[in-house]
């Protein structure tokens, strides 16, 4: 659905994106995970045709490159900022974006998109009266109002409460199940781990590695830690590639008062790949 090949982008003396290649298949959620300034938004900018790569190319399916206005109809964009008009109602916002995107029946498209994100009961209210989570949902609705096969979502859950986040993530999963390819940037590793079929780890403009979460953990994750508490012996810390076997062995030995298994996560992967924490 989306192919990025050897993309490079430089702003003055800063190499924002350095030889990045990835692909997003239909129905797949590809997560770009990296700290602020890693080059995620620049990559999204090139994928949506807003920025011209210094080198490399972007292709959207068989349609061509996204700087072509016709190709842009196939792309839905949810920017990091809530790109909506506060003084317009939810319905007016979506009708406007639908018209802009060449939808033949903007009213119907707006209603369907509002229904999909659960905002139909508030359709006639101005966006400025919406809660943060509702505004995020409207932002996402504007990306899907024309039913595009490719979605570029740039940190769409930034700054929302956990409940709204869960609702947004479920919506993205539904869209992928309906066949849309999704390129999803985030700096929340839990979100990437829960939502994405594949994850690319980005830092300083480079895509360091990509794959399923399990593949990444296998390649770069440290061993699973098993913590065993025994009566009078304190807590024993065991590193293992086979936590099940380790737990079984501990239980057979007896006198276990507590057990805790700590699986490595994408933070560990990032640490392994970059030598520093994702949260630094």
């Amino acid at each position: 659905m989306l192919v990025l090949e050897s993309l490079e982008k430089r702003f003055g003396g800063i190499q924002a994106v350095d030889g990045l290649s990835l692909s997003v298949r239909p129905g797949e959620i590809f997560g770009l995970l990296g700290p602020n300034g890693a080059g995620k938004s620049t990559t999204i900018g090139m994928a949506m045709g807003l920025l011209k790569p210094d080198a490399g190319r972007v292709r959207v399916g068989d349609l061509g490159q996204p700087r072509d206005p016709a190709v842009r109809r196939s792309i839905g964009v949810a920017p990091q900022a809530e790109a909506i008009y506060d003084e317009l109602t939810g319905e007016e916002n979506l009708r406007f974006f639908a018209r802009l995107l060449g939808v033949t029946d903007p009213a119907r498209a707006a209603t369907e998109a509002l229904d999909r994100v659960g905002l139909l009961p508030r359709a006639r209210d101005r966006a400025r009266t919406y809660s943060g989570g509702m505004r995020r949902r409207l932002n996402l609705a504007a990306a899907i109002v024309h039913r595009p096969p490719l979605l570029l979502l740039d940190e769409p859950t930034a700054g929302v409460d956990p409940q709204s986040r869960a609702s947004l993530l479920e919506l993205v999963r539904q869209l992928a199940r309906d066949g849309a390819g999704v390129l999803y940037t985030t700096h929340y590793m839990e979100e990437a781990a829960k939502l994405c079929d594949r994850v690319g780890i980005m830092d300083r403009g480079k895509l360091l590695d990509s794959g399923t979460v399990d593949e990444l953990l296998q390649r770069h994750g440290a061993e699973t830690m098993v913590y065993v508490e025994r009566n009078g012996h304190g807590t024993q810390r065991l590193a293992t590639h086979d936590p099940l076997q380790e737990v079984s062995r501990a239980l057979q030995a007896g006198d276990v008062t507590g057990l805790r298994v700590e699986r490595p996560d994408l933070e560990t992967v990032f640490l392994s790949l970059t030598g520093r924490s994702l949260r630094d």
């Binding site: 807003l50 920017p79 990091q80 809530e82 790109a83 909506i84 003084e87 007016e92 060449g102």
Partner: protein, 434 residues
């Protein structure tokens, strides 16, 4: 096209819901027009340049002397015209502040000054230029007295006056013999002096002392009339101030819409517009269309308000729509050019306020052009403000035809196109969404 109209409709809806902008677009210009209409008046002047059309119907030495005196005045630019009609046309078109007609009998009347005669000057002024008119009247009185002094200092003219005086006294039935004899003795003495070239220097036309001393007879009369469309003319002061108020309204639109792009960037919606399947030109033109519609609405709203509430007569509504359209187009171009330069709303609004204020000043919106230095008067040709006022006045009370209005219309359209092209060129540089 559909997308452009959608942008325009959306922007107008946003304008209607932004009370501050709506105030500056509608209420503020109305207040300006009413304010200036109430306090409309002249001013004082020192260094200035007033374009004065001059028709010399006499061509005698005194009228030629007057023309030369006018030409030496640094604040006057004398434009000789072949006939009165040509001069009036220049005034109506705003190419001259006034027309001075020196009557055919200007020199002849000098011979009758001692019998209570007067030398008349006919000044036909632009009603929209009160300050310049007042200044012209003062200047003409001064130079007229200089012409009188010249008439007095000319020996043959003085002797003609004396002969005329003698003849008049001889025919006067009411004058006593004693009084007649004393006056004849006086005239004989003056005649004797004139024959021997002993007239005082002041009387020979140096002119500077013409207004000194005790009360002088009113030998110079400057008759002032307004050049106006014969059917309507400026029906009242509001007819003159409403076009100016409309221009201020247009500037309100410029400030509002020039900040529009920065506002879209701040919201993040510019990214959606920039990634929509339409060229960047359509985004800018869509915004320009909204600015155009609002600007046109402002002018027509003010015109209707002026007609209904203040009794202003509009000479030609069709030409008013044309002038309003051209003005709205020019100011939309200006808005788009300004919009492309600023990234944040606050900077856009501040800068636009400053730019439009300067353009208004340069265009004569706050101070008459005649009071400005030469380079600013040259710059006024680039201000849509002055062209817009001239075009709207042309349709409201100057009685212009299409041909007369065409230069203003073309300049406004050219300014609008230049603004759009500049705006587009700027928008294409770099990432339009940031």
């Amino acid at each position: 096209m559909r997308a452009m109209l959608a942008i325009a409709a959306k922007d107008l809806r946003l304008l209607a819901r932004d009370r501050t902008s709506a105030f500056f677009v509608l209420a503020f210009p109305l207040a300006v027009a009413i304010f200036f209409g109430t306090v409309f008046g002249g001013g004082t002047t020192n260094e200035a340049s007033i374009r004065l059309a001059v028709r010399d119907a006499g061509g005698g030495p005194l009228s030629m002397g007057l023309r030369k005196d006018l030409a030496t005045r640094p604040q006057l630019e004398v434009l000789p015209v072949p006939d009165e009609s040509a001069g009036e046309t220049m005034v109506r078109r705003g190419q001259a502040s006034a027309l001075l007609v020196i009557p055919a009998d200007f020199d002849d009347r000098a011979a009758n000054l001692l019998q209570g005669g007067r030398m008349e000057l006919d000044l036909r002024v632009d009603p929209a230029r009160n300050a310049e008119s007042a200044m012209l009247v003062g200047t003409l009185h001064e130079l007229g007295f200089r012409a009188v002094a010249r008439a007095m200092g000319d020996v043959s003219n003085t002797r003609r006056m004396i002969e005329g005086g003698r003849a008049a006294m001889a025919l006067s039935p009411s004058m006593t013999v004693d009084r007649r004899d004393r006056l004849l003795a006086l005239l004989t003495a003056v005649d004797d002096l004139a024959r021997h070239g002993d007239l005082p220097a002041a009387a020979r036309g140096s002119g500077d002392g013409a207004g000194d001393g005790p009360a002088m007879p009113q030998w110079i009369v400057v008759k002032t009339t307004e050049v106006r469309d014969r059917r309507t003319g400026p029906s009242n002061a509001y007819a003159i101030t409403f076009p100016q108020g409309a221009a201020w309204g247009l500037m309100g639109c410029v400030v509002t819409f020039a900040a529009g792009l920065a506002e879209e960037r701040r919201r993040g919606t510019m990214l959606r517009l920039a990634t929509a399947p339409l060229p960047l030109a359509a985004v800018l033109l869509g915004k320009a269309a909204a600015c155009f519609a609002a600007s046109l609405g402002v002018i027509l709203f003010l015109a209707v308000a002026a007609r209904l509430a203040f009794g202003v007569q509009v000479s030609d509504w069709r030409l008013l729509v044309l002038a309003a359209s051209a003005s709205a187009f020019a100011f939309s171009g200006l808005a788009m050019a300004l919009a492309s330069f600023f990234r944040t709303e606050s900077s856009a609004r501040s800068a636009c306020n400053a730019v439009v204020l300067v353009l208004a000043m340069v265009g004569g919106g706050t101070v008459p052009l005649a009071f400005m230095p030469g380079f600013l008067r040259t710059l006024s040709g680039f201000s849509p403000f002055s062209w817009s006022i001239l075009a709207v006045e042309g349709a409201v009370w100057r009685g212009m035809g299409l041909a007369e209005m065409l230069p203003s219309i073309l300049v406004l359209v050219a300014l609008g196109v230049a603004g759009m092209v500049l705006g587009l060129a700027r928008l294409r540089v770099g990432d339009p969404s940031t």
